[in-house]
Amino acid sequence: MRYLPLTPEDRSEMLARIGARDIDELFADIPADKRLDALPDLPLTKSEIEVERVLGRMAACNVAAGSVPFFVGCGAYKHHIPASVDHLIQRSEFLTSYTPYQPEIAQGTLHYLFEFQTQVALLTGMEVANASMYDGSTAAAEAVLMAHRVTKRNKAVLSGNLHPHYAGTIETVSRLSGHEIVAPAPHGAAEDLSGLIDNTVACVVVQNPDVFGQVRDLKPLAEKVHAAGALLIVAVTEVVSLGLVTPPGEMDADIVVGEGQSIGNALSFGGPYVGLFASRTKFVRQMPGRLVGETVDAEGKRGFVLTLSTREQHIRREKATSNICTNSGLCTLAFTIHLSLLGEAGLRRLARINHANAVKLADALGKVPGVKVLNETFFNEFTIRVPGDAAQVIEKLAAKGVLGGVPCSRLAPDNPHLRDLIVAASTEVNTDEDRAAYAQALKEVLA
């Protein structure tokens, strides 16, 4: 087997050195009646050629985003990734290193994480950011738990326009950890949460742009939340929007969580992605996840280390702020490389292109008979109403080779008000031809 360097002769010599008769002597602690005599009922070893054949066949059954006019968003977005990003993250020293427990030989990882934390803080308009979470949704759930710790309260209010997967993730961990959740059903319209906010509420979670694409000024909400002594948590699922839209920090958010996939990371059917988590400095000791800090070495040279680990489970065990033991290392690296390449000028331009393309798409789809664009505001995705069942429309579009967006019923099937709604996104990868193909196909499907 090509990945195993020991030869049969090596194994014999090593067993002799150990003083064991055979390999099974080393497994003697496993109860004899439970040990497997036969091999598991699975295929035997395969060459590279054979593995490529098996997996290649499966991959070929899927429609890749880059092969069709593609407008699917709702928390994961098709963006262009510069070739250098994927090349650099595959450097052995990044790809096959581990959590930087020995900082003297992990300065590469620690250095880029320090840069990443700074980039995320700048992007979100917050004071401090951690070294990343699993993804945006789990970051949101951790933010709610953090708000409970900070406020010593037990209830969270979720906006009805929060991505239902995010709401579901928060709801699950809250219910099973004994916290209360109040959440209106998804509706798409402007909402007034003030009736739900009182001095028993730990936090209010809103998304901007929301799951229907709408962009909102959160300052009035922040005022109400703060007046009740609660924290405002803002989730951003399309991080490219921060190149163009007022950041949550400037709207007085207390915690900002985000999905960083859009910058540097492939769609990959939903993961691995990279969760962004930023907050105010005064809450830093209640933050979950890894933090990298600056220090000096014995010769006085600047260096970086994991820090404030007294918050973490390997020190604090059951008293830790979170059970999280990892970040999204390599996805974080992809994010920070892509953002370093873009820089402020590139990010702002990328965001403008996304917005311009979405405006063009909205104009094109709005002209299709029977279709109505519902958004007053949006960044790179928006919601349309179609006559009939949106899920069927999306299937028919797929049959015509257009992946036209997400039917809202896919996310919230119980809600009859959403059955005829589609969320469609347009990014920098779409051409005018793609948008024309979508409008034409939609026209035919609805005819």
């Binding site: 040990r35 320090f114 699950t172 839209v245 933090l291 370093s340």
Partner: protein, 518 residues
């Protein structure tokens, strides 16, 4: 024409290395932060400015400067290549970090995960356009279930600790379905810190089970703590002392006798793949770190993936989404009403770490049943070989019995030398090795946990053992300078972690320019 050639031989008296102007040391190059040399008006991505259009942002344009530096492509490539060279990695050398399973990461896995049919598909595009992805998930599930000896697997957890949370949530939901509300979770003291943290997150009171003298859990001690108020026992097997819990069946029986569940931390699954199935030992739930046992890259600390195999009692409570295979093929169930299960909820957005599923599948297909069993045997053989090579110099806290895939030493052998476990670890860095896991598990003093994995050749282990023997003898004969100042040859000398924690600097800030005095 000048006939003088260039000198081809070093001079006889080699001087001591002088300081350099740049602070660089030839291939080891100091690197600034992007904020110190990048410029906000530079970009390494060429994009065309869009034509004039009427924005639809409702006046919420971002107006203030963001302050994000940009790099042209050559600057970016050089920056990250230089950073990469400050990292130790599996591809650099032996990385014997106990309980982390730093095995070789096959590049075929990377190639497969990047096939457009896997890497470039959206989690919410119609299921009819991703049948191959669902097929891969179903196939991965089949392999994991077969190897674990359990009927179901929840795939969405994003890392080991997330898998623990998933398994414990399923247990809580199963108890609730029985109308029970139990309040205690038992955790042996050798467990990973994530176990008690997970139990506490779900509101359980954690009771710690002390290890017996041989480093394993005594079923009689477990029985003392068991009652109808115990929800679960969380046991790592093989445990973090590198030992197989030989009384695991008796422990499982005792746990089940009071109606509690048996959670196994599968962090050390690499020792036993194809040798024994946890389901056959009475395990109800076990997370599997795909980034350990199934070789998906550790990537400097993630992303991981932590699928959880489940017993028949827990399977119905698996979270959304899950895949169902029937006569119409494989289908993804995203909502409770669409399937037969009683899911406890949702762990995350979308369907889990697909990129890691592809890599793990590629690893499994390449090894096959025979290769995976061989890998486990080699991992255990290598650990015992290291133990045999060091046991006369270093101290084994639990005697000289066979270990599993990792060998645990304590620091008793360093008594009186003035050298600590930390010093010894840092001196290993100078010898070109990544240190073993140190000061964990907490059950022994100054722990040194060495996990060589199956990826090391005999020659590599022979040199590793020889180097550690040389260090051990140096420590014993009082050559403390080799340790107290180590590392000498790493990109950085020992770093001041106390200072970092006392006055945290967690981001770059623009230096304040002092106004000139008037």
């Amino acid at each position: 024409m000048n006939q003088q050639g260039r000198p081809t031989k070093p001079i006889d008296a080699v001087p001591v290395a002088p300081a350099t102007f740049t602070g660089n040391r030839a291939l080891r190059i100091e690197e600034a932060l992007i904020f110190e040399f990048g410029r906000t008006d530079v970009t390494g991505v060429d994009l065309d400015e869009p034509a004039e259009f009427a924005p639809r942002l409702g006046g919420l344009e971002r107006k203030e400067p963001i302050g994000l530096p940009g790099l042209a492509e050559p600057e970016a490539v050089r920056h990250y290549v230089r950073l990469s060279r400050m990292n130790y990695s599996i591809d650099t050398g032996v990385f014997p970090l106990g309980s982390c399973t730093m095995k070789h990461n096959p590049r075929l896995n990377e190639k497969m995960a990047r096939l457009p049919g896997f890497g470039d598909i959206h989690p919410l595009q119609p299921q009819s356009t991703v049948s191959g992805a669902l097929q891969l998930i179903a196939e991965l599930s089949r392999w994991l279930c077969e190897l674990a000896g359990m009927p179901a697997v929840a795939l969405s957890p994003k890392a080991g600790a997330h898998g623990e949370l998933c398994g414990m949530m399923a247990i809580k939901a199963a108890l609730a379905a029985r109308g029970e509300k139990r309040s205690i979770v038992l955790v042996p003291e050798s467990a990973h810190g994530t176990n008690p943290a997970t139990a506490a997150l779900l509101g359980y009171r954690v009771e710690t089970i002390p290890a017996r003298d041989d480093g394993t859990v005594d079923p009689e001690e477990v029985k003392k703590h068991l009652s109808k108020d115990v929800a679960a026992l969380m046991l790592t097997n093989p445990n973090t002392c590198g030992l197989f819990e030989r009384d695991v069946v008796a422990i499982a029986d005792a746990v089940h006798a009071v109606g509690a569940f048996f959670y196994a931390d599968g962090a050390n699954f690499n020792a036993i793949v194809g040798k024994v199935r946890p389901g056959d030992l009475g395990v109800d739930a076990m997370h599997i770190n795909l980034h350990k046992t199934f070789s998906t890259p550790h990537g400097g600390g993630g992303p991981g993936a932590g699928p959880v195999t489940l017993s028949a009692a827990l399977a119905p409570f698996a979270p959304l989404p899950y895949v169902v295979t029937d006569k119409n093929g494989v289908r993804l169930v995203e909502h409770a009403a669409d399937g037969a299960g009683k899911p406890f909820g949702r762990m995350c957005a979308f369907h889990g770490q697909m990129g890691m599923f592809v890599r793990a599948m590629s690893y499994m297909l390449a090894h096959g049943a025979d290769g995976m069993r061989q890998a486990s045997e080699d991992a255990v053989l290598n650990a015992n070989y290291v133990k045999a090579g060091l046991k006369d110099l270093m101290s084994l806290p639990f005697g000289d019995g066979a270990c599993m895939h990792e060998v645990l030493f304590d620091d008793a052998w360093l008594d009186g030398t003035g050298v600590s476990t930390l010093d010894f670890a840092k001196a290993m860095i100078d010898e070109g090795y990544h240190p073993m896991t140190m000061y964990f598990p907490l059950v022994v003093h100054g722990a040194m946990l060495i996990e060589p994995t199956e990826s090391e050749s005999k020659a590599s282990l022979d040199l590793f053992v020889a180097a550690l023997r040389d260090l051990a003898m140096a420590a014993k004969r009082g050559d403390t300078a080799r340790f107290s100042g180590a590392p000498y040859y790493a990109p950085r000398r020992r770093l001041d972690e106390t200072r970092a924690a006392r006055s945290p600097v967690l981001r770059w800030m623009k230096p304040v320019v002092k106004e000139a005095a008037e």
